[in-house]
């Protein structure tokens, strides 16, 4: 942690970066994002199991981008990113949203995070995305902090099991998702925390024509949630922030995970793996399956 603070301070002192985006501690079992431009403020930075947010989302925010821009041109931004968050960076680079050369990635050797603030970090409270995590460190990091430790074995229970839902007959599945989507209050928190939802104007805000109905009926809710999952197909890196942010506890990552599985199964594609890969949507293979087509 001290090493991170020292390193970040140096970066700011030497004016190598315009700002450092990181986590600061608030209370015992909670952190929050912080943007630091003053070298001395670097002592606020922390790295621990409560660093839940995917800070990559801020890299594409207009206000943060403005920090890096000056008359001389673009300066670098430093961001603290867990190895899994770095996958979002990779995806954003693939989609021309950020440039690697404008970025300093400060990462950690991750051993998992808690499922929510306030919990004690142990096997029971491990975040769902950490259960079968295999990216404890990332080759894209400029520097990694902390020592390598094992992720605790998951001993808790997940509320929804993807394979159980897959087993349901179609009508039951539709019923399940309709019930879940009916809870949606269209607050769009899922969209706000998603690093890949960077459109200036979201499809759901388009009114001529009206792409997705925003009135409070099942039809609009269904359409919004399906389109959200569709637009993230082959792009979502599984950070799970949408589900954590959802105030109505809709299991959004079920859809995201299913689509990630399908992308891998159908096209052998995993998002956020390498900036050299062509994106799943936007490329094609003549040998893609023709099974669906009469």
């Amino acid at each position: 942690m001290d090493e991170l603070r020292r390193f970040a301070r140096e970066l700011l002192l030497k004016k190598e970066v315009a700002a450092v985006i990181g986590y600061e501690q608030v209370g015992e079992a909670r952190t929050r994002p912080v943007v630091i431009t003053d070298p001395d403020e670097c002592r606020r930075l922390v790295l621990n199991e409560y660093c839940l947010n995917n800070l990559v989302v801020y890299l594409n925010r207009a206000r943060i981008k403005a920090l890096a821009r000056s008359k001389e041109g673009i300066r670098k931004l430093a961001v603290v990113a867990k190895p899994c968050d770095i996958r979002s960076i990779v995806a954003l680079i693939q989609e021309n949203q950020i440039r690697r050369e404008n970025l300093m990635i400060l990462s950690m050797n991750c051993h998992g995070v808690v499922r929510d603030f306030g919990c004690e970090f142990n096997g029971d409270n491990l975040a769902a995305k950490c259960i079968s995590c295999n990216t404890q460190s990332s080759t894209y990091a400029d520097k990694s902090f902390g020592e390598v430790r094992e992720i605790p074995k998951f001993t808790g229970k997940l509320e929804y099991d993807l394979s159980e839902i897959e087993q349901l007959p179609p009508s039951k599945r539709m019923e399940f998702f309709r019930e879940q989507f009916d809870k949606c209050i269209k607050c769009y928190a899922c969209r706000a925390v998603c690093p890949l939802c960077y459109c200036q104007r979201c499809i759901t805000d388009k009114t001529i024509p009206r792409w997705i109905e925003s009135s409070s009926h099942s039809r609009g809710n269904f359409a919004w949630n399906i389109v959200r999952a569709l637009h993230l197909s082959g792009r979502c890196t599984g950070c799970g922030e949408c589900e954590r942010a959802c105030p109505m506890d809709i299991p959004l990552s079920l859809l995201n995970r299913k689509m990630a599985m399908k992308s891998k199964e159908l096209f052998g594609y995993e998002s956020g793996k390498s900036t050299d890969n062509p994106t799943l949507v936007g490329s094609y293979d003549q040998k893609d399956s023709d099974e669906l087509f009469m």
């Binding site: 981008k65 673009i74 021309n96 960077y198 104007r201 979201c202 001529i208 994106t279 936007g282």
Partner: protein, 665 residues
């Protein structure tokens, strides 16, 4: 907006199953429809006048015609609209004939469907925006790819019309397969005698820039404005100095290392060579793979032989760019590899015929070389194995062709004719020779073609046997050809001295690769697709790219020449005005909303999407957005569906229009 609805009876074609008056009546009640009428023939002059009058009387802004397919009469009704003062893109067609009256029997349901189709068109037309045609400038120069007879013909026609031509040929000389042929059917005139004057004409034509030993690397741009990058491979001979005296060729010590591809492997050529005596240009090429200099830096016999210092061992490939307005693709064909199935090939090969194993089992082009006066045997029919004169030759037709089990279902078209010709030539040259032809059917459709085949059978006594050959093997210096005579119903064994296989015509191995560079579609074999099999046979589906000769399908010489002239005239038509008009169905980006993800750029099949920088007041780029080049865009709309923020709209098919159609269901 005031909309007029016009329902056509098409005589009885529509009205037989669709109650047209009822459709017109019902549609009048659709909000926005000011006027609605049905009429016997809307496309007729009185029908069009009806539309014009209605527009005037009812002050209509847009019209919907319920008639036949838009592919038939959309243009007619758009012209009528223009004549009446309405923008042609405020006309929608409801397809009541092909999609309704002709395919349904029940009057009630067909009428109901017709009403709904009209309603959908009305809802769409309400949201249609007036569009005007896009003008693009034209570069009046043609790129011809391939210097065979088709490419030569196309280049000469375009050049003689007064336009510049860039002719690219990958081999060291133009001439193509035609230059290899001995005599041509059905007239038996010498192939080279009729071809070489044209080759020379190409070389001397002031408007033709000839680039041999060159290949197209990439083509960018669009109709009227292509930019072609061409790789000129290193010949290692300075073309400007070389006089074509051939001293280097005769002094080259490499005599038996490389087979001549012009002689189809029946003769050797030196490391520095001119493919054949009449080659155009008459400039040699050094083959690095066999030349001693490139192996150990020694030799240099050719350098000593050349009194003009034209040999340049250090010459490198050079790239050049040509701006052209149209492209004529005339890349020709190759022969099916009839030996054992090559690894990874989709064609099975004919292992049972022993091609490649037995020296005297040869293909049609090899026989052409043997029969050719300029060939390795000076036109005497001799076996490649021992140089003896064969007395009995078996010709087998349809080797590869019409044999789906071996990978090709189509007929190669020319083999019936050239087999008859070759059998005839053999009989003319070897008077006591016997010629046998195994055939499936004889396809001699063409002027004087059938008569030619009859002549082979009746006057030259070529033995035609209807049936297939199952196996060929060598026994005591003879080739035992085991086949079946399906007319007599008996097995046939012929002990031949030589066997000639009329193997199928297939596209070059890199045909798909070139198609991707040029941006034209191809079929499963690799033949390039024409835009319409009947009405647009020389146009590719990419505007400004035309096809000539066997790259499109198996063709004989007169057809290739006809196609080439047709393609040339299409290019010339294109050049008849200084700018082109094209349909305004193109995509446009809303730059304010574009998120700059460039998925549109990734999916665009035409490379029409460009990057545009948006700068802040300090001149620092803070955003990159997509910009669609209106000239390049072909209007497929793939980008619109891929765009996540829905910032792209396709004019004429914008999302609002389609949503309105869905809503009208």
């Amino acid at each position: 907006m005031k909309i007029g609805v016009f329902i056509c009876h098409c005589g009885e074609n529509i009205s037989r199953t669709v109650d047209c008056p009822r459709v017109a009546e019902t549609c009048e009640k659709i909000p926005g429809v000011e006027f609605s009428i049905d009429y016997k023939y809307m496309c007729s002059d009185p029908g069009q006048k009806l539309i014009k009058d209605a527009v005037e009387i009812h002050k209509l802004d847009a019209i919907v015609v319920g008639s036949c397919s838009p592919n038939m009469h959309e243009r007619t009704f758009r012209s009528a609209a223009v004549a009446a003062g309405i923008n042609p893109f405020l006309v929608e067609i409801a397809n009541l004939r092909e999609h309704c009256s002709w395919v349904h029997e029940d009057v009630e349901s067909a009428t109901q469907k017709a009403i709904e189709l009209v309603r959908m068109a009305v809802e769409k037309v309400k949201r249609d925006k007036p569009l005007s045609k896009i003008k693009v400038p034209v570069t009046k120069r043609v790129l011809v790819i391939g210097g065979g007879i088709a490419g030569i013909q196309a280049a000469l026609d375009v050049a003689n019309a007064g336009y510049d031509v860039v002719l690219v040929e990958k081999e060291p000389s133009i001439g193509g397969h035609m230059s290899q042929l001995s005599e041509t059917f059905p007239t038996l005139d010498c192939s080279q005698c009729i071809l070489t004057p044209r080759m020379v004409e190409v070389n001397q034509h002031p408007r033709i820039k000839l680039l041999t030993y060159s290949e197209v690397e990439k083509i960018e741009g669009f109709i009227g404005n292509f930019k072609a990058t061409i790789r000129k491979k290193a010949r290692h001979i300075n073309e400007d100095i070389c006089s074509g005296c051939g001293q280097c060729v005769s002094k080259c010590p490499i005599k038996k290392k490389a087979f001549s591809s012009f002689e189809e492997g029946l003769a050797y050529r030196p490391a520095v060579y001119i493919p054949f005596p009449q080659a155009v240009p008459n400039i040699p090429v050094i083959d690095e793979s066999v030349c001693t200099y490139y192996r150990n830096g020694k030799c240099g016999m050719c350098v000593k032989a050349c009194d003009r210092q034209a040999i340049d061992f250090d010459q490198k490939d050079t790239m050049m760019v040509a701006d052209v307005g149209a492209v004529i693709v005339a890349t020709g064909y190759k022969l099916y590899s009839i030996g054992k199935q090559p690894l990874g090939s989709k064609y099975k090969g004919y292992g049972e015929y022993g091609y490649g194993k037995y020296k005297d089992v040869i293909d049609g082009l090899q026989f052409e070389r043997i029969a050719s006066a300029s060939g390795p045997t000076s036109g005497e029919i001799k076996r490649p194995s021992d140089g003896k004169e064969p007395k009995k030759i078996v010709f087998i037709q349809c080797v590869g062709s019409r044999d789906p089990a071996k990978g090709i279902s189509y007929c190669s078209k020319i083999c019936c004719m050239y087999t008859a010709k070759q059998a005839m030539l053999f009989r003319h040259k070897v008077h006591d020779g016997e010629a046998y032809v195994f055939y499936m059917d004889i396809r001699a459709g063409g002027k004087m073609y059938e008569e030619f085949v009859r002549r082979a059978i009746e006057e030259d006594h070529v033995n035609y046997i209807r049936g297939r050959v199952s196996r060929i093997y060598e026994e005591n210096g003879k080739y035992i050809v085991k086949g079946e005579d399906t007319i007599a119903g008996v097995p046939v064994n012929i002990d031949a001295d030589m066997v000639v296989l009329a193997s199928a015509m297939i596209p070059h191995d890199n045909a798909p690769g070139l198609a991707q560079k040029v941006g034209i579609p191809y079929d499963k074999y690799g033949f390039y697709n024409e835009s319409h099999p009947k009405l647009k046979p020389v146009e590719s589906t990419t505007a400004g790219v035309f096809l000539a000769g066997a790259c499109n399908a198996p063709r004989d010489i007169p057809e290739s020449v006809a196609m080439a002239s047709a393609a040339a005239s299409k290019a010339i038509i294109l050049f008849s005005s200084d700018s082109l008009e094209r349909e305004p169905v193109v995509a446009r980006v809303n730059e304010d909303l574009c998120a700059g993800c460039f998925y549109c750029r990734k999916v665009c099949p035409f490379g029409a999407v460009e990057v545009r920088d948006i700068k802040d007041m300090n001149g620092v780029v803070y955003k990159e957005v997509a910009y669609i080049n209106q000239g390049v865009c072909q209007g497929c709309g793939t980008c619109t569906a891929t765009c996540l923020s829905k910032s792209i709209e396709l004019a004429g098919f914008n999302n609002e229009e389609i949503f309105a159609e869905i809503a009208a269901l």
